[in-house]
Every structure is written in structure tokens, then in C-alpha cells.
């Protein structure tokens, strides 16, 4: 009578062990590398850096100095502006593209490969493209000078290196639209066309179909893809550094400047900046998810 039970238990235990064995590699990476770095960053931002001869833990003065400066809030505004605007544009373009991709049209096979191209090209190459195309010594300006629209390339209007961030936004959108499209396209394929066709037969117009039927179905895809690209945009360094307008810089660039300063004590200030980015990004992403969960519960899909 007891034998099957122990067998059952043993099997259960084996399964549990197997489950943990599957989880361990990822856990190790997350806890040791990511968690360790995070703990170190927080400790340093609170004044723990004995290797520079600084140890005043816990010391909130680095955060106080950072948050007390007006320039920090300007930089934060700039960081959020680039992140939100590019996420928004990429989302709208991604939705339009994904909706187009589920239709049939000539050349669709080719197009399916074509739109994924930016996904395979690194950001740095995109930044270089922006410099080559849109810069004041770039192709556009030289072409215009060649045609005679402007006297010489240096008269070309400033697109890059301004605080409007057209260059930064262009690179983000160029790289992230395909990502959003890919996510939504997969969701749309899974959902199928039946519900939309049913709505059309019942007399809904195009807009009604999109907002009442399609959008709620692809919402999980929208949420997950925008979360990912927004998190990237808020912490990205190279595009604002190369294409940005200089002071005031975005927060990641400020952190980098602190790290590169000859004054080693500023590295703690840099760590405080990094921790601030993490706090702000984490806060925004968490509230975003919480709002979405509430919405999910409200429509009874949890």
C-alpha cells in the first residue's frame, strides 16, 4: 500500500530537482552578475568605496548633491523625452506595419525579410548611418550643396547634435519599429482573422474593428514590446552621446562623464546617477505594468 506512495513521492522529488536544475543557470547569472553589480552600485552610491579611500557608508550626500542640482532634472526630462517620443513613434509605426503584414499584397515575401533588416544591424551602425546621412558633412548636405540649394555643406540645417534629438529619435525608431512589428505580427497571426471578419459582417466600420476588436487582442504584445524598448531607450548611452546636443546630457551620458573624470571621488556621484536611472526606470515600468494589470482585471482577463 505504501510502496506506490513512496514511488510517487520519489518521482515528485525528481521532478522538483529537475525543475531547479533547469532554473539554476539563469538564476546564477541573474543573482551573481546582475544582482552583485546592483548591490555594488547601490553601496558605492551610498559612499562605500574603500579602494578610492572613501568609506562613509551610509551617506546620502551623493544623491543629495545630484538631486539638488537643477541640471539633473533637466537631464532627466531630456532622457524621458527621447525615450517616450521614440517609443511612441515606433509603436504607431509598428502597429501600422503589423496590420499591413497580415494582409496579402504583391512582394510580401520580400518585404517580410526587408523590414527585419534593422534588427540585425547594431545600434552603432545605425548611429554611423545617421551621421553619414544627416550630419552637416553628410550625404544630404553635400547633395544639397552640389545641386546648389545651399552655398556649402556647412550651411545645412542642424539635424543632429541638438536637444530636439531628431538624430537620436531617428535611430531608435529605425531600429525599434521592426521589433514592435515582429511582436505584434506574431500575436496577430495567433489571433487569426475570424473575430475581425465577424465584426465586419455585423456592420462595424474599419475604426470600430480596430479599436473594439483588434487592439484589445494585441494589447499584451503592445505592452511587452513597449516595455522592452522603453527600458532600453532610457538607459541607452551611445546614441545620445554621439548624436546629442551636449550639455545638458541625458542621464546615462552624465554617468559616463562622472566615471571618466580625473577626480575619482566623482565615480560615486556616477554610481548615484546610475542608481537613479535604475530607480526611475524601474518605477515607471512598474507603474506601467500595474496599470495594465488593473485594466486586464477590469475587462476580466487576468
Amino acid at each position: 500500500m505504501t510502496a506506490p506512495k513512496t514511488k510517487e513521492l520519489a518521482r515528485h522529488r525528481r521532478e522538483r530537482i529537475w525543475m531547479w536544475a533547469q532554473l539554476v543557470p539563469v538564476l546564477v547569472v541573474l543573482v551573481v552578475l546582475f544582482g552583485g553589480a546592483l548591490v555594488l552600485a547601490v553601496a558605492q552610491s551610498l559612499g562605500f568605496a574603500p579602494w578610492f579611500g572613501v568609506n562613509t557608508f551610509p551617506d546620502f550626500s551623493y544623491f543629495a548633491a545630484l538631486w539638488g542640482a537643477w541640471s539633473f532634472w533637466r537631464s532627466l526630462g531630456l532622457t524621458l523625452y527621447y525615450a517616450i517620443v521614440s517609443t511612441g513613434i515606433a509603436l504607431v509605426m509598428g502597429i501600422i506595419l503589423a496590420l499591413a503584414m497580415v494582409r496579402l499584397f504583391p512582394g510580401k515575401t520580400l518585404y517580410k525579410y526587408l523590414y527585419k533588416l534593422p534588427l540585425m544591424i547594431p545600434y552603432t551602425v545605425g548611429i554611423a548611418l545617421a551621421v553619414i546621412m544627416l550630419g552637416n558633412g553628410g550625404m544630404l548636405s553635400r547633395l544639397m550643396a552640389f545641386v546648389g540649394l545651399i552655398g556649402d555643406p556647412s550651411e545645412f540645417p542642424q539635424i543632429l547634435k541638438t536637444h530636439y534629438g531628431w538624430g537620436i529619435i531617428t535611430v531608435y525608431v529605425w531600429k525599434q519599429t521592426p521589433f514592435v512589428t515582429l511582436t505584434l505580427y506574431a500575436v496577430l497571426l495567433g489571433v487569426g482573422r475570424e473575430t475581425e471578419e465577424a465584426a465586419a459582417i455585423l456592420g462595424a466600420n474599419k475604426w470600430q474593428i480596430f479599436f473594439q476588436v483588434t487592439l484589445p487582442q494585441i494589447l499584451p504584445g503592445i505592452i511587452s514590446s513597449t516595455l522592452i524598448i522603453f527600458a532600453f531607450n532610457i538607459g541607452a548611452f551611445e546614441a545620445p552621446f554621439i548624436l546629442g546636443g551636449g550639455y545638458p546630457d541625458t542621464l546615462p551620458v552624465i554617468a559616463w562623464r562622472y566615471f571618466n573624470d580625473a577626480d575619482y571621488s566623482l565615480q560615486l556621484q556616477g554610481m548615484a546617477t546610475v542608481v537613479s536611472i535604475a530607480l526611475i526606470a524601474g518605477g515607471i515600468l512598474y507603474s506601467y505594468l500595474a496599470l495594465y494589470r488593473r485594466y486586464e482585471r477590469r475587462i476580466g482577463r487576468s
Binding site: 550630419g135 558633412g137 555643406p153 556647412s154 542642424q158 552621446f241 551636449g246 571618466n260 580625473a262
Partner: protein
């Protein structure tokens, strides 16, 4: 289980013994070399045993990288040493690595950096943290190519690095001068500014046609220093800026740099992009050179005696580029060096490499490949060697050696550089409303 543990402990203790032995051998090698009881043959023999050398250097220049890979690697292989060139984006990364390893308790022979190409603040940092191998630079066979006697005023460039005494802990590798180039296709050479006042009047007529690299990048710091020398209220240029901050004092420094800082503040609305409300300071040389090439600015300044010739060859300078004398009397001259950190894993191989780099042959081929002026002193060489250097140089465009020599100025002391760059960031970039004395006092306090 127990057996495994015992095995592990014994392996660990063995490894520790090996490390200690290595450490002891490295320490004794260092001590005997610095005391002069090691012959160069011993160094060569030990270098063969070590086998490789890790040279960390700024890898942002293709010609230098090509020269390293094609010439230095081959030549050192003949001496039984494998060069491992580690290219970094900023020299500070290598300094950080050395200090981090030192902080982790890695002593002689246990680090990972054998040599660094550096100067100025980075050397001062290593020296302050006591992370240097010691006085090797004047006790190698090729040290004879460099002037070490302090009776010759020209030796200052070798004995001091940004005002910090080198103590032979680094060996000169290249000598450079801060030279400005002008695009003669846009500006008549006769109308070229030669003083800062001229520059300002030129920019009032042609707003936006000039900018300088943003401090704390050293190229930007150098421009700021030359402005400060020229506006020294006592009229004695670079003289007071040779002493350390402890000797000068915050108050005195603030008094000395105020006119220069005010000039830079007044210049800002005339710089590139300022007409659109946002003056643009390029991040580095490459960015400024790009603006110069595109005709966005009419001038470009950097450390580069042969910058114009090299730039014309590579197509990175506009065709009308010529060097000119600016700022009059304040064209800063310095040398850059190779230093060996205290915890170098292969100190003997590093010495062999440093000695090779100081040879005339290496200096000639470096000049030929990269346009980097020699770090050895020509008056210490024989005529044939001097001729070889002259033949290898890309040549000066638009300026003569006599003009360059007549307008030299020394670097600023490294401890002041930090304060001046912090002041620039606060006063010019962040438009702080505090007066300069307050800003300088704060910077001095923070940098202690």
C-alpha cells in the same frame, strides 16, 4: 566528498605558493634592477622566460594600430618577446585597471598591465597611488638617446610631465606641440588671427566659425590652458602654473585664471552653433577634425606637429589646410610616455619593449607610419640618426620649425589641470552664477 575537499585545499594552497613565489621573484627582480645590480643580459634572459608583454594604449588611431601590428610585433618577436597590444578607448581605463588590481591586493608580478602609453593626469594618478614600477627610464641601453641632465633646460620635457616629476618612472615616447590649422580656402592666411583678441574680432565678423574640444578631454584642457596663460593678469604666462595646487593655493589660482575664464565665457556666444542658442563643443579630435573638413569651422587645433601633412595624406583635412602660429607664444609643448606599473606581470619584457621603443629605428619607423614626432632628443643622436628622423617626417605645412620653437609654452601642473577643468565645467558649461573664486575653492576642496 571529504577527499574532494582535501584535494581542493591542497590545489589551492599549491596555487597560493606558486603565486607567492612569482610575487617574490618579481619583487626581487624589481629591487635588483632598480638598484643597478642586474645586467641588461639578465633582463633579456628573464624577458625570454616571461615571453610576452601587455601594452595598453589608446587605440583610436589607425596608423598607430597598423604600426604596432606590422612593425613592433615583428621586431619584438626577434627579441624573443610577444607583444600583446591592448587597445583601449581611454588611457584612464588602463589606470583604473592597475589601481583596481592593486586595491585587490595584487602586488608585483600579479597584475595584468605591463606598460601604458600615457602622460599628465594619468601618470600623476599612478604616482600618487604609488603604483609605478620605479626609475627605469634612465637605466636602459637606449636611455642615452634622451637628455636626463637637469643642467640642460631642454631636459625639462623629460624630467617633468605636466609639472609632475617623472622620476624616470616613465620613458618619453613622443614629443608633441599644440598646433592650430587654418583652412586657407576660406580664410586668407594674412588675415589669420595670431592672438586671442584677434580670434575674437575674427569671430565677431564670422560668428560660429570656431570651436574647441570640450574639457575634460585633454585637447580641450590644453586650449583652455593656453587661453589662461595668455590672459595671466601678472603677464608672466605659464610661470605660476608650474607649481602644484598646494603651493599655489585656491585663492591665488582663482585670481590667475579669472581673466582667461571670462574670455572663454565671452567667446561662447561666438562659437559654432551658439547662434542657434547652443554652442557645440566636439567630444574629441576626430569630431573637431570632421567639422574642419566639412567647413563648419575655419580652424582646428590639436597636438600634432605634422597634423596637417598627415591629415592631407589621409584626406581627413581640407585641401587648403595649413598650420599657423596661434596662439602667439603659447603653443603648448609636451611629451608623452610609456610607464610600467608596479604590478606588471612581465616587468623584464616590459623593459625590453620600452628600450626598443626608445631606439632610433623604432622612432624613425613610428614617425614614418604615424606622423608622431620623436620622443628622443635629436642633440643626443649622431648626424646620420638625425637625418633618418628628418627624412621620415611628413614635413611641416605653412609653418617653420623656427616659428614653432619661438612660440612654445610648457604644460600646466597636473594638480592644477583638475581644478581648471572642474572650473570650466562649472563656470562655462553649467553657467554657474557663483564667482570664480568660490568655484575654484569648491573644486580644490573636492579634489583633495
Amino acid at each position: 566528498m571529504k577527499r574532494i575537499l582535501i584535494g581542493l585545499t591542497s590545489v589551492a594552497s599549491l596555487m597560493a605558493t606558486v603565486a607567492v613565489a612569482e610575487n617574490a621573484a618579481a619583487t626581487s627582480f624589481r629591487d635588483s634592477f632598480l638598484s643597478g645590480s642586474t645586467t641588461w643580459e639578465d633582463v633579456q634572459a628573464r624577458a625570454q622566460e616571461e615571453g610576452s608583454v601587455n601594452l595598453y594604449y589608446w587605440g583610436g588611431s589607425d596608423p598607430i594600430n597598423i604600426w604596432m601590428d606590422q612593425v613592433v610585433v615583428t621586431d619584438l618577436a626577434k627579441l624573443g618577446v610577444t607583444l600583446n597590444p591592448v587597445r583601449i578607448t581611454g588611457t584612464k581605463d588602463a589606470v583604473d585597471l592597475v589601481l583596481a588590481e592593486k586595491g585587490a591586493g595584487k602586488g608585483p608580478g600579479e597584475g595584468s598591465v605591463d606598460a601604458i602609453w600615457l602622460n599628465g593626469e594619468n601618470f600623476a594618478t599612478l604616482k600618487r597611488r604609488d603604483a609605478l614600477f620605479g626609475a627605469f627610464a634612465d637605466s636602459m641601453p637606449n636611455s642615452a638617446n634622451i637628455e636626463w641632465s637637469d643642467e640642460d633646460p631642454r631636459s625639462l620635457l623629460n624630467l617633468r610631465d605636466f609639472g609632475v616629476e617623472t622620476g624616470a618612472a616613465e620613458v618619453p615616447w613622443s614629443g608633441e606641440q599644440y598646433v592650430c590649422s587654418i583652412n586657407t580656402a576660406r580664410v586668407d592666411k594674412a588675415a589669420a588671427p595670431s592672438t586671442f583678441a584677434d580670434l575674437r574680432s575674427y569671430l565677431e565678423v564670422n560668428p560660429g566659425k570656431f570651436t574647441y574640444v570640450k574639457p575634460p578631454h585633454y585637447i580641450g584642457n590644453t586650449f583652455v590652458q593656453s587661453v589662461i596663460y595668455a590672459h595671466n593678469p601678472d603677464g608672466n604666462g605659464a610661470v605660476p602654473f608650474q607649481s602644484s595646487i598646494e603651493d599655489v593655493g585656491a585663492e591665488e589660482l582663482a585670481r590667475l585664471i579669472t581673466p582667461g575664464m571670462e574670455y572663454l565665457n565671452a567667446l561662447e556666444p561666438l562659437l559654432l552653433g551658439a547662434q542657434g542658442g547652443n554652442a557645440r563643443y566636439p567630444e574629441d579630435n576626430a569630431a573637431l577634425d570632421g567639422m574642419f573638413l566639412n567647413g563648419e569651422v575655419d580652424f582646428a587645433c590639436k597636438f600634432g606637429l605634422y597634423a596637417v601633412a598627415t591629415g592631407l595624406n589621409l584626406g581627413t583635412y581640407p585641401e587648403g589646410a595649413e598650420a599657423f602660429v596661434f596662439p602667439e607664444g603659447n603653443m603648448i609643448k609636451n611629451k608623452n610616455f610609456l610607464a610600467i606599473p608596479a604590478n606588471a606581470p612581465n616587468p623584464a619584457a616590459a623593459l625590453i619593449m620600452a628600450n626598443y621603443m626608445t631606439s632610433v629605428e623604432a622612432q624613425v619607423s613610428k614617425l614614418k607610419f604615424t606622423g608622431m614626432p620623436p620622443g628622443v632628443d635629436p642633440w643626443r643622436l649622431d648626424d646620420a640618426q638625425v637625418q633618418a628622423l628628418v627624412d621620415a617626417s611628413p614635413g611641416l605645412v605653412g609653418i617653420t620649425q623656427a616659428e614653432l620653437d619661438a612660440n612654445t609654452a610648457p604644460d600646466t601642473n597636473a594638480t592644477l589641470v583638475n581644478v581648471i577643468e572642474a572650473t570650466w565645467l562649472e563656470y562655462i558649461e553649467r553657467d554657474s552664477s557663483d564667482d570664480i573664486a568660490t568655484i575654484v575653492a569648491r573644486a580644490v576642496e573636492n579634489l583633495k
